[in-house]
């Protein structure tokens, strides 16, 4: 939360001379793609040095391991971009999974289970949105409160027990493969695509950035800020519920304990990917890389048999290294003042 874009007069005049402009473009390009490049470099090094890393099985496993985080990171990005915050996603994953499993148990209908789970997620999200946008409750407190309440509901509904799933059609969601890729991986890829387009190519996305960058300016320009906020949270709830249902299908049960601490992972992945907690800045490719870095580090540490205790150290160091490298590149690229 340090002073990100606090210095407005810092940057060059627009009609800069031609070579300067090219240099600037190039720098902007570097700043844009430094993260993906970094990741590609990392991946290559790992592929060459770490045994078993670059195998179809492992790469698919890696992607599968970040599927849930990836889906939710897409909407969390929107949420952070609009200068908000959502701590309730972990609980929502658990609750929608439990609810879906219970509905499945009672009705035997996959449709009912899926619709029920998604609707619950959307409702939770919309509730967050209303609390934050209309009742003006601080997002941290509001979503902390829903995080607690939704987790409570998951426990209460399931009486604290895992709810088993026996329905094969439902289980195949998490299991099926298309073109050799597990369905969850395909879903997360679609999410990145859809939300990338949403962020960059729709009025919704641009308004989201505007609201995060300067809510007052957005409001004065006629953007319906409150309504937009509610929509963002609603989407977040919906996608999170989808992730929860997919998780439930993968582990063939709805577990009320699932995904504790998930929210921090998702937010970290976004921030690692360059999304500003001060709002107004987001890049889908950055988020993708952030998610991948987190998953890759864990994957490689286990492949290399790093001791569990030392994994904490390594994970911390890698996080620092990633942002520092990125930092240096952007710093080299364009003198900012402070």
């Amino acid at each position: 939360m340090n002073s990100l874009s606090s210095n407005p007069s810092a940057a060059p005049e627009a009609p800069a001379s031609a070579p300067a402009a090219t240099a600037q473009r190039k720098h902007a390009w570097l700043a844009d793609y430094s993260m993906p490049l970094l990741y590609i470099a990392l991946f290559t090094v790992l592929a060459l040095t770490v045994e078993n890393f670059f195998s179809a099985g492992n790469v698919v496993g890696l992607m599968l391991s970040v599927a849930q985080i990836g889906m939710v990171a897409c909407t969390m990005m929107l949420c952070l971009a609009s200068r908000d915050f959502d701590l309730s996603v972990g609980s929502t994953i658990a609750f929608s999974g439990v609810l879906g499993a219970m509905l499945l148990e009672r009705t035997g209908s996959v449709t009912v289970a899926v619709i029920g789970g998604l609707a619950a997620g959307a409702l939770i999200g919309a509730g967050n949105g209303v609390l934050i946008a209309y009742l003006r409750i601080n997002a941290l407190i509001a979503t902390l409160a829903t995080m607690l309440m939704v987790r409570g509901l998951a426990f209460i509904a399931s009486q604290g027990q895992a709810v088993g799933i026996a329905n094969d059609a439902f289980i195949s969601f998490g299991d099926a493969r298309v073109f050799g890729l597990p369905l969850p991986v395909i879903v997360v890829a679609v999410c990145f695509l859809v939300f990338g387009v949403l962020l960059n190519h729709t009025v919704f996305g641009r308004n989201t950035l505007a609201v995060g960058g300067n809510p007052e300016a957005a409001r004065l320009a006629g953007v319906k800020v409150e309504r937009l906020r509610v929509w963002i949270f609603l989407l977040q709830g919906l996608v999170t519920a989808m992730a929860g249902l997919i998780l439930a299908s993968r582990i063939t049960s709805g577990q009320p304990n699932a995904a504790q601490g998930f929210e921090l992972d998702v937010i970290s992945a976004c921030v690692l990917g360059g999304v500003s907690l001060q709002g107004g800045k987001a890049r889908i490719i950055g988020v993708l890389v952030g998610v991948l870095i987190m998953g890759t580090v864990e994957n490689v540490m286990n492949l290399m048999n790093v001791d569990a205790f030392y994994q904490y150290l390594v994970r911390g160091l890698i996080l620092l290294a990633a942002v520092l490298l990125d930092q240096l590149k952007t710093r080299g690229a364009g003198g900012h003042r402070d």
Partner: protein
């Protein structure tokens, strides 16, 4: 011709402040209606009501014969009202095109048509005669350019009523000219225009009619502004006579105190050197982007120097940062009030005391609250800062009054040696300007060096003993007070080609010294 826009008995109360008190006036289509008044008189509040940002506590607003009750900015926009607010409201991370089209981006098949947006904005910018890259991020633009974006954003709405709140306060000469042309075109097109400014020249040059505010009340509307002598306007506004606004007096000059040697940094085009004598007021003029602010920031240690040295009374000043400069007695009052000056949510008193309190701490750590309160009250009184009390959050003050608070912060420095003022009177009313000029002279009379950067040419000429002119990142010349005519200064300030072609001037406005 019936009035297109009518305010009837409009009131607005904030805790402790009656910002508007039964204001009524009307504005006609095809005219430019000027609003004048001291800082805090209620002008911006009126525009915020017009723009749907505030709901009035009483009174009626009639647009095109229909009574309106705006509950949001969107309502006002829908009713054909566009307001360019005093505090710029842009989204720094978005591009010019996106800012200009905020809230109404063109779409194709549900997706934003970036190309069409870019083209649309490019075309409109060209039509408006504004030179801006639609793909540039706002964060990368100068304040003046951001101001132009704001103006374009409002014009893009094709509104019938367009209200400008001190649009020129951060524009320099060149952009101002563009703006004036636009305003005239809009008038010719039959729009209803409200125009707020503290610069009398431009009001005379643009406005057909004007209304004067004081303390939230309407004092008078002059149907034909040109007929009203400026002394009369000033007296109506300030409630007293102001004669020579610059109040220039010759002072005994001392020896050289401040010497800047070969200072260089990222934003300059080569090293810059100059010096200031004790008791001297040095004016800096240049067009927007000439590098004046950059040079001062280097001097102040706010940016990293690549070369050069600053000597004060023969001793080198550490370049480690603003705190070192302040400790040496050099202070800088920055040009961008909102981003670099105010601590928005802190009180007026806090904003005044933040720096100077280090000299009167108890045991080097603890504050002396009584002393700080007294100091704040003293400045509130002396600079006539309009605030309900010293504990008011500064963001709730009117723009001009915020500026006065920041000035007070630096005037409160007990051991002031060099006072650098970057656009000090931006958004300040005539009475207060007069006050600031007096302060400048007094500080100089104490033997301090004063550096005044201003894009207001008459102001530079009016206060400075000597004028330095900058152009494209370097000092392009120096003129003594006697030699510093408008043409001489402008010749040094304009790029060579432009200077040769046509020295565009403020001439259109009545030469400013006539204020004296």
């Amino acid at each position: 011709m019936s009035a297109y826009l009518q305010f009837e008995d409009v009131s607005k109360v904030f805790p402790g402040v009656k910002a508007l008190n039964g204001v009524s006036f009307e504005a006609h289509a095809g005219t430019v209606h000027g609003l004048l008044g001291e800082n805090g008189a209620g002008k911006s509040t009126l525009l915020k009501i017009l723009g749907g940002q505030y709901k009035p506590d009483g009174g009626r607003l009639v647009v095109a014969g229909k009574e309106r009750h705006f509950t949001s900015a969107a309502d006002a926009i829908a009713a054909g009202v566009a307001v360019i607010h005093q505090e710029l409201q842009y989204v720094p991370e978005l591009t010019v095109a996106e800012n200009v089209l905020l809230g109404r981006l063109p779409t194709r098949f549900g997706l934003v048509d970036h190309k069409a947006a870019q083209q649309l904005v490019t075309r409109r910018l060209a039509e408006l005669g504004v030179d801006l890259d639609p793909a540039a991020r706002l964060a990368d633009l100068s304040i003046a350019q951001r101001q132009m974006v704001e103006i374009c954003k409002a014009l893009m709405q094709d509104a019938q009523v367009i209200a400008f709140d001190e649009p020129t306060s951060s524009l320099s000469h060149r952009e101002s000219e563009v703006l004036f042309r636009l305003v005239r075109e809009l008038r010719a097109d039959g729009r209803t225009i409200i125009y707020i400014s503290h610069r009398l020249e431009e009001l005379y040059a643009l406005c057909d009619t004007c209304t004067i505010f004081r303390d939230g009340r309407k004092i008078v509307t002059h149907p034909v502004m040109a007929d009203v002598p400026r002394e009369r306007l000033i007296a109506d506004m300030v409630g007293r006579e102001v004669n020579d606004i610059y109040d220039y007096r010759t002072r005994p000059a001392h020896g050289e105190r401040l010497s800047v040697r070969g200072l260089d940094g990222a934003a300059l085009d080569g090293p810059a050197s100059f010096s200031v004598r004790g008791g001297e007021v040095l004016g800096f003029f240049g067009l927007v982007g000439a590098g004046r602010s950059e040079l001062m920031r280097l001097l102040y240690g706010a940016d990293r120097r690549s070369a050069g040295q600053v000597l004060l009374d023969g001793k080198a000043v550490s370049a480690s940062g603003p705190s070192a400069a302040i400790a040496a007695g050099i202070v800088l009052c920055p040009e961008d009030r909102k981003e670099q000056g105010i601590l928005a949510r802190a009180s007026v008193a806090e904003n005044i005391n933040i720096s100077c309190r280090r000299n009167s701490l108890l045991g080097g750590l603890f504050l002396r609250h009584k002393e700080e309160a007294a100091r704040a009250d003293d400045f509130i009184r002396r600079l006539r800062i309009k605030t309900p009390n010293r504990e008011q959050e500064i963001r709730l003050l009117s723009g001009g009054n915020q500026q006065k608070v920041i000035l007070a912060r630096w005037l409160a420095e007990p051991d002031l040696k060099v006072l650098i003022l970057d656009e000090p009177t931006r958004g300040i009313d005539v009475g207060a300007r007069n006050e600031i000029y007096r302060i400048i002279h007094e500080v100089a009379e104490r033997g301090c060096c004063v550096i005044v950067i201003s894009s207001d040419l008459p102001e530079v000429l009016g206060v400075a003993d000597r004028v330095l002119v900058m152009r494209e990142g370097r000092i392009s010349g120096e003129l003594s007070r006697a030699d510093a005519s408008e043409t001489a200064v402008l010749r040094l300030a304009l790029p060579d080609a432009a200077a040769a072609a046509a020295p565009p001037t403020t001439t259109e406005h009545t030469p400013s010294r006539s204020l004296q």
